[in-house]
Amino acid sequence: MKELWELYISFFRIGILTFGGGLAMLPMLKYELVEKRSWITENTLLDCYAIGQCTPGIIAVNTATFVGYKRKGISGGIIATLGMVSPSLLIITVVAVFLQALIGEPLVQHALVGIRGGVCGLMLNTVYMLAKKSLVNPFCIAVCAGTFLLAFFTKLPTVLIIVLAGAVGVLCDRVIGGAK
């Protein structure tokens, strides 16, 4: 019971102290899990992280589940995940309540229009970074271009497009062994 509580608290702390998830979380995970608690080794952490990236879902949550499971089995996996999402639930709910109360103010309206412009700039940057990281060979560029056309010009469900892309990856691996 005490160990489960410690798992919850540790991941709660990781959740509340990380802005942004993904790679930004790695130093915090390392400090809390490897250096402070010595629950796992740094190599296991990197393994968890690699698995977290090639499974569906939020990378931070996947890592939390994996570490929690390694430590305390299924209940550990669930408790660590709940610890990880608790700060978001609390903070976002408070922010959402406040924003809803303020939304009618003209000042807030102007600020929000500005922020929406800023979000576009930030998201363009996200796409640019992702493209630099993921479009490393002609195969990737072809899949990306094909997906773009499908998603932009057809009404195919997103899920179907993702399944198709996975199938294309396997097919290319079988045929030319070239999907790297």
Binding site: L89, A111, G114, R116, G117, G118, T126, D173
Partner: protein
């Protein structure tokens, strides 16, 4: 169908198919904005700003916010739990049964296909986001809001510049908010 069940279904689906973390959930959230009366595309843009500026994983923050906008406190809780449920099950199965999962050839091939596709899906989502954020619908059709457009371009360029690229997203949003108030966007 019952709204709560729909919310559970949509976020479960997102958790199961959003591969590549937080930003990968955006195309799914966009589908929801189109299909359901829960939140608008503009609100989705606000959600992105808030999720990037508050602690916690971005994907979780967005799910909580989207759920809250749809069905209040209960919605926030339900959508977040539905989003993480598939990953918890999948990760536990992998941890229990599959050693070296990430080294498996088929797994590698599947993800080699999915990764560039996700980049394209997010790119399409960003184009839609730009359509609703930088254009205003008026009687004569949609009009480009050049002030917002300039703000978007300036922030993008500053994010490429060595001295400012490491700044936290919240800094950009505060600047954008100040510009919005100052220039009456």
């Amino acid at each position: 169908m019952n709204q709560a069940l729909l919310l559970i279904f949509e976020f479960f689906k997102t958790g199961l198919f959003a591969i590549g973390g937080g930003p990968a959930t955006i195309p799914f959230l966009m589908d929801m904005a189109e299909k359901y009366p829960w939140f608008t595309m503009q609100e989705l843009s606000d959600m992105i700003a808030i999720s990037e500026s508050t602690p916690g994983p971005i994907g979780i923050n967005m799910a909580t916010y989207a759920g809250f906008r749809s069905l209040g406190l209960f919605g926030g809780l339900v959508s977040t739990l539905s989003l993480v449920f598939p990953s918890v099950v999948i990760i536990i199965l992998i941890a229990k049964f599959l050693d070296g999962f990430q080294e498996n050839r088929i797994v590698k091939a599947v993800f080699a296909g999915i990764r560039p596709a996700v980049t394209a899906l997010i790119a399409v989502a960003v184009i839609q986001l730009i359509q609703v954020s930088l254009f205003t619908e008026e009687a004569g059709g949609s009009v480009f809001n050049y002030k917002s457009g300039a703000l978007c371009v300036i922030i993008f360029i500053l994010m490429q510049w060595k001295k400012t690229k490491k700044l936290h997203p919240v800094v950009w949003f505060l600047l954008a908010a100040a510009a919005g108030i100052l220039f009456q966007l």
